[in-house]
């Protein structure tokens, strides 16, 4: 090879890669050359790997050929070439056939290779072995695990770990050796790397690998895991920090399996909080704080406080990652227990100006959550300075945090509104950012009525100079909705009409709708004439949509002259909102059915309507759950949001997932209601008034899984039992549920609709209908599932002809019709006033002996009463022994209001509750108060 061509090939690697085929050809030629040119081969392999790293791939035949040629290079003894060969084998094994042929060469290296290539050889085993050949490596791996050289031992442990899913039995055979490897502190031999300029330090990381492997082998054996923790926790046998963190995680695993174990680990955890490694401190603090979300009664106050203190000290270290990690944990705590981390506020405040924007944003959002009535205004002024300096993403996060803050501290609305208006007018930012501000403002207007006028005035100013159509339209809508009910509606009319004069057709149309709403203003009857004349002028607009809308509006306003006609009021200032899911569903059905080319008009009366307060209540409830939702992911069968908490910690970014689930829950509800109403027998009951959420009546893993839904009609109650058959070869015929009343018979059973046949792996509904005499009948029912089982013929998938089947029954949990079923959540802006105004009052006292935390009681109360927790009382503080919960709801029948104030005091004997209820309907109020638990 001349110097020239040699140089050329040398340069190629630096710049652009040559194309795939050239490299392939080069590799094939050079690898098969004899004698082997080690240097050139190593260059070519690295070039090939660069190609693969760039995402190129080879067809199977070519990859196999390459693999074959590469494995020929084993003939050459040079270790530095060999290391590259192993890399190539690892990469190529996934795309080529016959990888087994390299096994014998690899095994030879494991036995006789130098200490340099041995680990590489061992680690490549993962890629060439499969289920049938894994056993052949058993002896080699076993001796490598106990090898004194740390790199060899680590390689063998990792390989065993990778091989677990392929052949667990093989790996299990040397679990003793793996366990020894945890204790064995392997040092690098002094003369090991003669040929290298670097001197290895012994980090004992093979302890980490060994511990990880041993855990996987014993993960089903709680006792031996406990032994493992005891063995390594006390004595100072674990030197590696990764291994120590792994041990903390092991404790975490154990206490999540059995929370009672926590007490015996307390002192150990306390020690770990002051461990010399920050990673161990962090992991321990994570463990304690996340464990206490569900098991606060098991975690002692002192331990929790020292966990917080550890985090607090981590906030001040110079290392970015440590601060970041500690902040993440604190941020997570702030969602549920902001009061616990108030001690960290000074540190958090100093982090606002951290050079890492992630950290400063986390610090601010955490501070916003820990904020109390006293420091909000100073906080808000701090962010005002800060917000202009960060990117849009961070701005949105901050605005969201401010929004939650405003809902939690409604009394502080003034400074928050000032801040929001300021960033809205002066902040630089894209549509997404501005939209999030508008959303926050809309929330404030709807949940904090006092703020209305100030906000609307400022929004009027803002729309004079706004570049985004979307935002303008939303603001116009808000003005139209809220404006007519303010003290000086004429002011808004002027601003809205300005838009008609100055803006494009999209905004003009929105402005027309908005204007028309002012025509029916009660506060200022003179406005009507002005609006009419304005609309007449608009009716000559050049855009047809604008003209149409103006004409319709004029027509409706004229109709309102007639006092008996409600059309105008219903259409212009609608007080009701349709259940959109159900509406969409029905409309789709209507469109697709098309029986008589749309001669029968679409019937909207069957669709559920909500009043504004109800919609607000639903929104608020969702928002409250959303706040918790960051920590709580509802499990599939969790009907009790907030009580069945899984321990998944999800960061804000993933929240969309849960939202989707919520949406599906909504759809499910609509679906059940639709199914029910389509059944002939139920038509005479009239309109469906309320349905509960599905309640599980069996264990989720039972053979027959049953969920019940309670449907309320005016004089009737229908229980819907959704039965699913999880067996694979049995059908259930004539499935019924026999409900027998527990107490006095307030309800009169009418009929049962059985499921005729329930095929395997399907779900169907069985209904039981009752007539109720009293408005608020309450009763408990013991339920037994009756059915005839018949075996399926696997060939025809029909039951055997001569199989008579035999009758069977299956007991499921009882179902209760409670006062809460007659109530739905509703919103009130000023709970205290509403409460004082309600006429009838009832008081009841409860003593609860069970060992429950205040939060658990609170969750239970919210669920039982189906009321909306207001004034941010849905979170019970963990550090005091008393809490007051405020609940508000309305009767499902006539919308009469009911409000509850529940005071709870926790003592060593249990929890004492004093419930004070007030309502417009005395019976409902009394029923609710007396049936809290």
């Amino acid at each position: 090879m001349s110097t020239k061509t040699y140089k050329k090939s040398e340069n190629q690697i630096a710049g652009e890669l040559s194309d795939k085929m050239t490299i392939y050809q080069d590799c094939m030629n050079t690898f098969n050359e004899l004698p082997v040119n080690a240097k050139r081969c190593r260059i070519l392999i690295s070039r090939l790997l660069r190609l693969l790293a760039n995402g190129e791939t080879f067809p199977e035949s070519e990859a196999t050929a390459l693999f074959f040629s590469v494995s020929k290079l084993f003939q050459h003894q040079d270790d530095s070439l060999r290391q590259m060969v192993y890399l190539a084998i690892k990469e190529l094994s996934s795309i080529s056939d016959d990888v087994l042929m390299a096994t014998s060469s690899i095994m030879k290296d494991i036995q006789n290779g130098s200490n340099l290539v041995k680990p590489n050889a061992i680690r490549s085993l993962t890629y060439v072995l499969d289920e049938s050949t894994a056993f052949s490596a058993e002896r080699l791996l076993k001796s490598a695990v106990v090898n004194k050289h740390p790199a060899v031992s680590s390689a063998a442990l990792c390989t065993s770990y990778h091989l677990l899913p392929i052949s667990e039995t093989t790996i299990k055979r040397f679990s003793n050796e793996a366990q020894e490897a945890i204790v064995d502190l392997k040092q690098f031999p002094h003369s090991s790397m003669d040929n290298s300029e670097f001197y290895p330090n012994s980090t004992f990381i093979s302890q980490y690998h060994a511990l990880g492997l041993v855990y996987q082998l014993k993960k089903n054996d709680k006792m031996s895991l406990l032994k493992l923790v005891r063995q390594f926790a006390e004595a100072n046998t674990l030197k590696n920090q990764l291994a120590k963190v792994q041990l903390v995680k092991l404790v975490n695993d154990l206490i999540h399996r059995d929370p009672q174990l926590f007490t015996q680990f307390q002192s150990l955890l306390d020690n770990w909080l002051t461990n010399k490694y920050e990673s161990v401190q962090l992991e321990t603090a994570k463990l304690i704080t996340s464990f206490s979300i569900n098991n606060s009664h098991l975690v002692s106050q002192e331990l929790y406080i020292s966990a917080i203190n550890t985090l607090r000290s981590l906030l001040t270290v110079p290392r970015v990652t440590t601060r970041f990690a500690a902040l993440r944990v604190l941020n997570r705590i702030s969602i549920n227990n902001p009061e616990k981390i108030m001690v960290c506020n000074p540190e958090l405040e100093s982090l606002i100006n951290d050079s890492n924007r992630n950290i400063s944003t986390y610090a601010i959002t955490t501070l916003l959550k820990t904020g109390n009535a006293k420091n909000i205004s100073s906080l808000v002024s701090t962010i005002t300075k800060f917000i202009h300096e960060v990117s849009d993403d961070f701005k949105i996060i901050i605005i969201d945090a401010v929004r939650t803050l405003s809902l939690n501290f409604p009394q502080e609305w003034k400074s928050i509104v000032k801040f929001l208006i300021d960033v809205l007018k002066n902040g630089e930012g894209g549509l997404k950012f501005k939209n999030s501000i508008i959303e926050a403002i809309i929330d404030i207007v709807s949940f904090i009525p006092q703020s209305k006028e100030l906000v609307l005035d400022n929004l009027c100013d803002f729309i004079e100079d706004c570049e985004y159509n979307e935002i303008l339209v939303r603001v116009l809508h808000l003005l139209g909705k809220e404006g007519p009910f303010t003290s000086k509606p004429s002011l808004y009319v002027r601003h809205i009409y300005n838009r008609v004069v100055l803006e494009n057709s999209i905004i003009r149309s929105a402005a027309v709708i908005s204007l028309s709403k002012f025509a029916l203003t009660k506060n200022d009857p003179t406005l009507k004439d002005s609006i009419v004349s304005l609309l007449r002028r608009i009716a000559n607009d050049q855009d047809d949509e604008v003209r149409d809308r103006a004409t319709i509006a004029l027509e409706l306003i004229n109709a309102s002259e007639n006092k008996h006609s409600l059309v105008a009021e219903q259409l212009i200032q609608s007080k009701y909102y349709y259940d959109l899911n159900s509406l969409e569903n029905k409309l789709t059905n209507y469109m697709s059915a098309n029986d008589d080319s749309f001669k029968t008009p679409f019937d909207v009366s069957s669709i559920r309507k909500f009043t504004e307060d109800e919609v607000k209540a639903m929104k608020l409830k969702k928002k409250q759950q959303q706040a918790v939702g960051n920590n709580v992911e509802n499990t599939k069968d969790a009907v009790v949001p907030g009580t069945k908490q899984t321990d998944n910690r999800i960061d804000n970014d993933t929240y969309q997932g849960a939202n989707l689930q919520e949406h599906q829950e909504d759809l499910l509800e609509t679906k059940y209601a639709d199914e029910l109403l389509s059944i002939e027998q139920f038509k005479e009951f009239g309109n469906l008034i309320n349905s509960s959420k599905p309640i599980p009546l069996t264990e989720p893993e039972a053979e027959f899984v049953v969920h019940a839904v309670k449907h309320l009609f005016k004089d009737h109650v229908v229980f819907q039992f959704n039965v699913s058959n999880t067996l694979t070869n049995v059908v259930l015929d004539k499935v019924t549920v026999a409900c027998s009343s527990e107490g006095d018979n307030q309800l009169e059973e009418l009929f049962t609709l059985p499921i005729d046949r329930l095929l395997p792996n399907t779900e169907a509904a069985c209904y039981v209908a009752y007539k109720k005499d009293e408005a608020f009948a309450m009763e408990g029912f013991i339920n037994i599932l009756h059915f005839t089982t018949r075996e399926l013929d696997p060939e025809t998938n029909e039951p055997f002809e001569n199989d008579e089947g035999f009758d069977d029954e299956y007991e499921i949990d009882p179902i209760y019709l409670t006062a809460g079923d007659y109530v739905k959540s509703s919103f009130t802006g000023n709970f205290e006033n509403t409460f004082a105004e309600l006429p009838s009052e009832d008081v009841a006292v409860y003593n609860i002996k069970e060992d429950l935390s205040l939060q658990e009681i609170t969750d239970k109360l919210i669920l039982n009463t189906s009321c909306l927790p207001v004034s941010n009382t849905q979170f019970a503080p963990n550090d005091t022994n008393s809490h007051t919960l405020k609940l508000f709801g309305k009767s499902v029948f006539n919308g009469s209001k009911v409000a509850l104030v529940v005071k709870m005091i926790k003592s060593s004997k249990g929890i004492a509750l004093k419930a004070q209820g007030r309502g417009e309907d005395a019976t409902l109020c009394a029923d609710l108060v007396n049936n809290l638990m």
Binding site: A14, A38, L49, M84, A151, P200, G212
Partner: protein, 199 residues
């Protein structure tokens, strides 16, 4: 729960300043040892989804470089992953891990990556150097993370396990006699010099 699985690193990337790949590796651990709780299995299923095709990977890399270019924050949460990065003159090195993993552990591993590359690449970390010594870079990364498991965290140890390329094209037989004699002669003359100076 921050699972007990050893598979803590999801990906190691080296991208140039336009977001093009210099090196990219997405680790795909075997599916059924992901830890025993369903959630772990669920997220990593989604993770695999996210990185399942070359197109998705490259889109991810483009979004990543947009987010990190000229933003020296070292660590962040990005699309529900922990991302550790360091921007050099014309390239950025990334290490991406599970959001529930101990941040400091991942940082340790990332430091190992940075420091050992600094040791291996004598002339500093830049695009040209990485491409010229691609074999050493590959071996270094291979010694740091083994299919998602953190293998070693000490940069000296890692560097000591990375072999230099073979020096000669053709193996020249070494003349041992000459070499030893030469050394002896050199030592003798040096010793004499010293003795003379001392006297």
């Amino acid at each position: 729960m921050s699972g007990l699985s050893l598979y803590s690193v999801q990906s190691i990337l080296i991208l140039d300043s336009q977001g093009n790949r210099i090196y990219a590796k997405y680790y795909q651990p075997p599916p059924n040892v992901l830890g025993h709780n369903q959630h772990a299995a669920f997220t990593s299923f989604r993770e695999n989804e996210l990185f399942s095709s070359l197109k998705k990977q490259e889109d991810f890399e483009k979004r990543l470089i947009k987010k990190t270019h000229k933003q020296d924050s070292e660590v962040m949460l990005f699309e529900n992953k922990l991302v550790f990065y360091r921007e050099y003159i014309d390239l950025t090195i990334y290490l991406i891990g599970d959001p529930n993993e101990n941040e400091i552990i991942l940082q340790t591993s990332f430091n190992a990556l940075k420091n050992s590359l600094e040791l291996i690449l004598n002339n500093g970390i830049d695009k040209k150097n990485v491409q010229e010594n691609y074999d050493m870079v590959l071996l270094t990364i291979d010694e740091i993370v083994d299919n998602g498991i953190i293998l070693e965290t000490d940069s000296q140890t890692i560097a000591s396990r990375v072999s230099k390329p073979p020096t000669n094209d053709n193996q020249l037989p070494l003349d041992f006699d000459k070499g030893l004699l030469g050394a002896w002669g050199f030592a003798k003359s040096k010793l004499q010099e010293r003795l003379q100076q001392g006297l």
